[in-house]
């Protein structure tokens, strides 16, 4: 039995965990749900030894775990899969897995053997693996999460703690993944699943613990609760459905026009294949696709971080502010500089940087005021503009990115997996912000692997598959059929 006894953890002035008790039994899937910043990840880190609690202890089978030692936790049989994959960017995936339990050799490093073992485990789980010798840096987030899960399972752990593992998995992978959790349970292991997808928690968990602002507010079972009840418990008030209806599909003049956009990588492989699409003012266009079909590269090209091989991107009438604001998917690596202050991260956006710079001089107090204003307006939970971005929780980091994009007053916002890892309330808030932006005459392009999210908010849906984009019929709303298109089916 895994127990957490009265765990308290404080970060500066923030009380992340307030005397939290938690227990999970062998042969159980225990879902841990809560809003962003509720303390789920902190609790996991304490149990997995990545953090030492201020008070309280974690106990596995009656034996207290050494606080703050991931090695001791692992030796005791606790493996964790973190929300932001903790991988070595410039190493190959085999080398990354060599730090896991696949490496049984005494001393000598046999990468081939590791790869073989990893592939056989991956095949059992229905995971697709990258080509041999591929480095992690160019892999999609979904692929990274798969690697993390494989690495954790390679230790053959008695306890597996997973932090939001499913948010980036493709629908086809999700079923297999949930089956995997069930089979781990069947083997008598303890599975702790941290998630914000309440339907998933209800479908797969035996018991559910709800955290709110560092406290346990409910312990329940799927039979005794519902999604609505859980959502209410998490947020502390009754929430309405995130966004009522999709935006009209055509409202204004064309704003963004992309013609024959093509990108070949340095090996000559075609990543983006003659993409053409338009977006009009007031429109929210969704681009649905399974991760790794060219979305990341499309965002890089649109952001200007990468030069396309050919094709044209035109933003029409970029009269005020910047023409296009991009919200990349990997907020910790691409979107933010975690060891810089909030106001510094804000002025990463060129239009805002220009706004607070005159004749080359940076007006820091102006930037700080602007940041304070946005913290209030977008309800970013942070002590102030001087806070280091890395000190914010995931949801608040995303709020900061959205705030930055809106504040740059662009004509077009391009956002990639914008609600990844966000809870209901935060998702609704982000959607509402995007909707307001579109209503105000902007065009939004939402790129996501979450079809439900896109269907809820987008007026028009495009499908990206193997670097090609195709329109869907305006009336097409059947997730199953769209899912097939995402998987590459032709009509």
């Amino acid at each position: 039995m895994l127990r957490a006894n009265a765990i308290t953890k404080r970060f500066g002035r923030t009380l992340a965990l307030d005397a939290v008790d938690f227990e999970a039994l062998p042969g159980e899937i225990h879902a841990l749900v809560g809003e962003n910043g509720a303390g789920k990840t902190t609790l996991m880190n304490v149990m997995a030894g990545s953090l030492a609690a201020d008070h309280g202890e974690a106990i596995l089978d009656g034996r207290p775990l050494q606080p703050g030692s991931p090695r001791a936790a692992l030796a005791a049989g606790i493996a964790a899969v973190h929300q932001s994959p903790m991988l070595f960017e410039r190493m190959t995936w085999e080398e990354n897995l060599a730090l896991g339990g696949f490496d049984t050799g005494a001393g000598a490093l046999d990468l081939d053997a590791i790869a073989t073992r990893a592939r056989s485990l991956a095949a059992k789980l229905g995971f697709e693996m990258p080509p041999a010798g591929a480095t992690v840096e160019n892999r999609s987030v979904a692929e990274r999460v798969r690697l993390e899960v494989l690495r954790a399972l390679s230790f053959n752990p008695r306890v597996l703690i997973l932090d939001e593992p499913t948010s980036v998995l493709a629908p086809s992978e999700l079923t297999a993944f949930l089956d995997l959790l069930r089979s781990l349970r069947g083997e008598g292991r303890i599975v702790v699943l941290i998630t914000h997808k309440l339907a998933e928690a209800i479908a797969v968990a035996d018991r559910i613990t709800v955290l709110r602002r560092g406290r346990v507010v409910a312990r329940t079972t799927p039979a005794r609760t519902s999604e609505e009840k859980l959502a209410g418990l998490m947020i502390g008030e009754i929430v309405t459905q995130p966004v009522a209806s999709a935006t009209p599909s055509h409202s204004g003049d064309p704003v963004l026009q992309i013609e024959n956009l093509t990108l070949d990588d340095h090996t000559g492989r075609r990543i983006l294949d003659r993409l053409s699409f338009r977006a009009a003012a007031g429109e929210i266009v969704g681009i649905a696709g399974v991760d790794g079909n060219g979305q990341t590269e499309l965002v890089e090209v649109l952001a200007g971080a990468r030069r396309p091989s050919s094709g044209k991107i035109t933003v029409l009438d970029g009269s005020s502010g910047g023409a296009m604001a991009v919200i990349p998917q990997n907020r910790d690596l691409d979107g933010l500089i975690l060891d810089m202050r909030l106001w510094e991260n804000l002025i990463l956006a060129r239009p805002l940087r220009e706004q607070v710079t005159s004749h080359g001089w940076l007006n820091t107090s102006h930037a700080i005021d602007l940041c304070r204003e946005l913290i209030d307006r977008f309800r970013i939970r942070a002590p102030g503009p001087e806070t280091i971005a890395g000190a914010l929780s995931g949801g608040n980091r995303q709020r900061l990115e959205v705030a930055r994009a809106i504040a740059s007053r662009p004509r077009v916002i391009v956002a990639h997996n914008i609600c990844r890892g966000l809870d209901l309330a935060a998702t609704a808030e982000v959607h509402r912000t995007i909707l307001d932006f579109a209503t105000g005459g902007g065009a939004a392009i939402l790129i996501s692997s979450d079809l439900d999210e896109l269907l809820a908010i987008c007026g028009r849906l495009l499908i990206i598959s193997r670097g090609k984009i195709r329109e869907t019929n305006p009336g097409e709303r059947d997730p199953e059929r769209l899912g097939l298109l995402m998987a590459g089916a032709r009509d």
Partner: protein
């Protein structure tokens, strides 16, 4: 308040204790050695001025390194850039006799700036356009610069009598004056302080400086937000080289007045330690450089009066620096920040393991 005063002394006491153990083990008298060190570095007006003279090139090269490192550009070539700046100054210096003093000085310093900028700029261009790792290119350019200096003082710039491997002395008009002679305080030192302030403003009060720091912290994010990385890389390396080159020109103009082999005892390398002790904060470069200059100056007195070997002197220098850097507890950080200024960026200097971008 009391603790902020007490902490530095506690830290120095610990440093002294550790070094005393080393000295005692080697049979020297710790008290005598420290007395000689202090006496040599700050014991008199002349000792103080000498310490500052020794620190001046370290300020220029330290600023060069801290600027480049702030953008995660690992400029190991300040020594070469200083040397090329000095060659340029030493080459033009003898021909400035007909100019008024102010103009001659401006020309000789500009020559140093230009020489250093070219040397740094080459490495910057190679990184920006050809993706050549700047660690490799700057190290290689160091070799080229040192050999070039050796060649010019034996060849084209050798003094007319051909008796010594040095260049002709620069014209009197191009020499920086000593204020309060015979002390050697000169315009170069004032320039060093002004430039430290200017670098600070550049890094923390301008848009370009912000982009540079953003590039240093997270290159990928910077590309996503329209930071023009190649252009920035080139200009920062050129500017970094210009600062080091100016240091070389000041050395020629104020102190040595001519070129000779091994002009730099390794200022460009010591500058890396100076910059890291100062946590890349330009204002911290001045006390950091003075610390190194004082150790250097004081240790010569140590050699003279205590018969300590030059090797042991270097051991002591190394220990002092390591103690300053190693104890990263809050108390020690307090000490360091009291002396060298708090790092403006939240995070510390990146560990060495992250440095080269192989």
């Amino acid at each position: 308040m009391l603790s902020s005063i007490a902490k530095p002394f506690a830290a120095l006491a610990l440093a002294a204790a550790l070094i005393s153990i080393v000295l005692a083990a080697l049979g020297a008298s710790p008290v005598g050695v420290f007395a000689a060190l202090g006496e040599g570095a700050f014991g008199s007006w002349y000792a103080c001025v000498d310490t500052i003279v020794k620190s001046t090139p370290l300020v220029f090269t330290g600023l060069a390194v801290s600027l480049a490192f702030s953008g995660a550009l690992w400029n190991i070539g300040a020594d070469g850039q200083l040397t090329v700046g000095a060659i340029a100054a030493g080459a033009i210096g003898p021909h400035l006799g007909n100019f008024p003093h102010a103009i001659a000085v401006a020309i000789i310093l500009a020559a140093g700036v230009l020489g250093g900028a070219v040397w740094g700029g080459v490495a910057g261009w190679l990184r920006a356009r050809r993706d050549v790792n700047e660690v490799i290119s700057t190290i290689m350019l160091n070799f080229v610069a040192v050999q070039a200096l050796s060649w010019v003082v034996h060849g084209p710039l050798m003094e007319p009598s051909h008796a010594y491997p040095t260049s002709s002395p620069i014209a009197r008009a191009a020499q920086l004056e000593f204020y309060f002679a015979p002390s050697r305080i000169n315009l170069g030192m004032i320039l060093a302080v002004v430039l430290a302030a200017a670098c600070y403003l550049l890094l923390f009060r301008t848009g370009a400086g912000f982009e540079l720091r953003a590039m240093g912290r997270n290159r990928r994010a910077a590309t996503f937000f329209a930071v023009r990385i190649p252009a920035l890389t080139f200009w920062v390396m050129a500017l970094s080289g210009a600062l080091a080159g100016l240091g070389g020109a000041v050395q020629i103009s104020a102190i040595s007045h001519r070129l000779y082999e091994k002009l730099s005892p390794g200022w460009g390398f010591e500058a890396i330690a100076v910059a890291l002790v100062a946590r890349l904060n330009p204002l911290g470069i001045i006390p950091a450089a003075i610390l190194f200059g004082a150790l250097d100056n004081g240790s010569q007195a140590m050699q003279r009066t205590q018969g300590i070997s030059p090797e042991l002197v270097q051991v002591i220098q190394g220990l002092v620096i390591l103690i300053i850097l190693a104890f990263d507890t809050p108390a020690w950080r307090g000490l360091r920040e009291n002396i060298f200024g708090a790092p403006h960026d939240a995070a510390a200097v990146p560990p060495v393991a992250e440095m080269p971008d192989a």
